[in-house]
């Protein structure tokens, strides 16, 4: 599903964020990517979304080499990736319903499809009764659920989560993580970047550990590790 071949990313200020990184993630896998700040996690997410270009190496998503993808094909790539961020990135002026419907409008779905899909996704994340509320009226955990619903509404095969629990308290974090796990169990490949040691150690999933732009560990049923 996702494959990196000797990816190196050097920013224009000569900082090397990733150095000869290679790994593969199979369809339906659940992978944690852990590491200190500055270890290259965010760069990795940005590369996967083709927000930035690698300096060297090849990156495959769905066996397509996205380093060679033309600009006008980027939207199509991104529709295959659901993304959630630490800061939720919801539109405050829109209701929960409209925030999710917006993702469908962007992909030019019919209004019939929007009316059908949005309530479905909302009940999947357990917010069916909050459709008319605005992001500012919701708790952090609820906002992240809305973000998740928005990421999933277009049915992407891959879910990228960049510190999805970074702004949440431990018990809410667990709710979100379980939700991501549920989504993963339905067949969506999940790539979760996180700092949360407890969650990583408890869930016993594959863990890729980055340090200074290099992979230092890649273990199935791994843990956060103490050397970082």
């Amino acid at each position: 599903m996702i494959a990196l071949e000797n990816i190196t990313k050097t920013y224009s200020n000569q900082v090397t964020a990733l150095n000869q990184v290679s790994f593969k993630i199979n369809k339906g896998e659940f992978v944690f990517i852990v590491g200190n700040s500055g270890s290259g996690k965010t760069t990795l997410i940005k590369l996967l979304m083709k927000e930035i270009e690698p300096s060297q190496g090849n990156l495959y998503i769905d066996s397509k080499n996205i380093t060679k993808l033309k600009r006008r094909h980027i939207p199509k790539l991104r529709r295959n990736l659901g993304v959630v961020f630490q800061d939720f990135r919801l539109l405050d002026k829109m209701s929960v319903y409209d925030n999710i419907a917006f993702a469908l409008k962007v992909t030019e779905s019919s209004s019939r499809k929007i009316r059908r899909t949005v309530p479905m996704v909302l009940s999947m994340v357990g917010l069916a009764d909050k459709a008319r509320m605005y992001p500012k009226q919701l708790s952090g955990g609820e906002q992240q659920r809305v973000a998740l619903a928005r990421a999933l509404v277009n049915n992407p095969p891959i879910l990228l989560a960049d510190e999805p629990t970074g702004n949440l308290d431990p018990s809410t974090s667990w709710d979100i993580m379980k939700l991501i796990q549920d989504i993963n169990l339905r067949g969506t490949t999940a790539v979760v970047v996180t700092h949360d040691k407890e969650i990583v150690n408890t869930m016993k999933k594959r863990v890729i550990t980055l340090n200074n732009g290099c992979i230092v560990k890649d273990m199935d049923r791994g843990d956060y590790g103490d050397e970082t």
Binding site: M49, P75, V83, R89, E108, S110
Partner: protein, 303 residues
């Protein structure tokens, strides 16, 4: 893009226009001013051109022959002149016809003054002439020069001065007009691109989210292009209305204050003018709106 996406773009363009109304108002104002000046000058130029065309139909060249010229020689001259490309039409006016016309023009109602002239006695017997109408007033000079060089021609009378004055006036207006229009168009484009930049700025977060959800360039840019186009279109309605409703008033005023012009300048009617102005203003307005907004989007909206 699908049809509903156009709807989305239109809706959001309108919304953004309204939210951004102060800047939008400024841009609409400049475009209006720009198009008003364009419309005004265009109206003047069109009317002068119209007058000129009318003049061309009335100003001809009169060619008089040397004394004692034979009919054959006149026919040869006729062939030579008619063959020229500048010539629209040529009429031979015989001495008798000339005298009849002169009598009508000069002595109408005062026929008693002509008692000394007997019927068979034509005072204009050497005044046979060609009355030549030319295709384009600009060609008058070269044609005159050619005719003067021909054998048997005594005198060429032309209305060159009038033509030159009108022509000169017209090109002077055209130059000023072009310069003014260019300056105003540049200002309008600049203002629109600024308006759109502010609109983009105020929706930065939304645009960011759209991009990572997988919005195409067209989808992100659409509403802003619509906003620019709307500014252009609204900007062109106002000057058209002003010109439409004030045209007749202004003409009346001109005739009242400069009665002398009544026979010199002919005005087209307002319908004819507006018919030409509507497409012109729309094209310029829409063009300015489109160029202004796409300029900004290329600079500030790299997806």
């Amino acid at each position: 893009m699908r049809l509903r996406t156009y709807g989305y773009c239109l809706e959001n363009g309108l919304l953004s226009l309204f939210k951004n109304r102060l800047m939008a108002f400024a841009s609409i104002g400049t475009i209006s001013a720009c198009l008003f000046v364009i419309g005004l000058f265009y109206t003047v130029v069109v009317n002068v051109q119209y007058t000129l065309d009318e003049l061309e139909n009335n100003i001809g060249i009169a060619v008089f022959f040397k004394q004692g010229i034979s009919t054959e020689e006149i026919n040869v001259l006729k062939q030579k002149i008619v063959g020229r490309e500048e010539v629209e039409s040529l009429t031979y006016i015989s001495p008798d016809e000339a005298w009849e016309m002169a009598k009508k023009d000069l002595f109408e109602g005062k026929e008693d003054l002509l008692v000394g002239i007997k019927d068979g006695d034509n005072p204009l017997k050497d005044s046979a002439s060609f009355q030549i109408y030319i295709k384009d007033i600009n060609m008058q000079k070269q044609l005159t020069r050619y005719i003067e060089s021909l054998d048997g021609v005594r005198h060429v009378r032309q209305a060159e001065e009038v033509a030159e004055v009108v022509q000169g006036f017209n090109s002077f207006i055209q130059y000023i007009c072009i310069i003014l229009i260019i300056v105003l168009i540049l200002i309008s484009v600049f203002l629109i691109s600024n308006t759109i930049r502010i609109a983009v700025e105020s929706r930065k977060k939304e645009i960011g989210i759209m991009k990572y959800i997988g919005a195409t360039d067209g989808f992100v840019r659409g509403p802003f292009i619509v906003e620019g186009l709307l500014i252009g279109i609204i900007g062109c309605v106002l000057p058209l209305l002003i010109i439409y409703y004030s045209y007749d008033l202004v003409i009346e005023r001109i005739y009242a204050d400069f009665a002398i012009l009544e026979n010199l300048i002919l005005f087209m009617n307002v319908g004819q003018v507006i018919q030409k102005l509507i497409p012109l203003c729309l094209i310029i307005g829409v063009g300015i709106g489109f160029i202004g907004s796409s300029m900004t989007l290329h600079k500030h909206l790299k997806v």
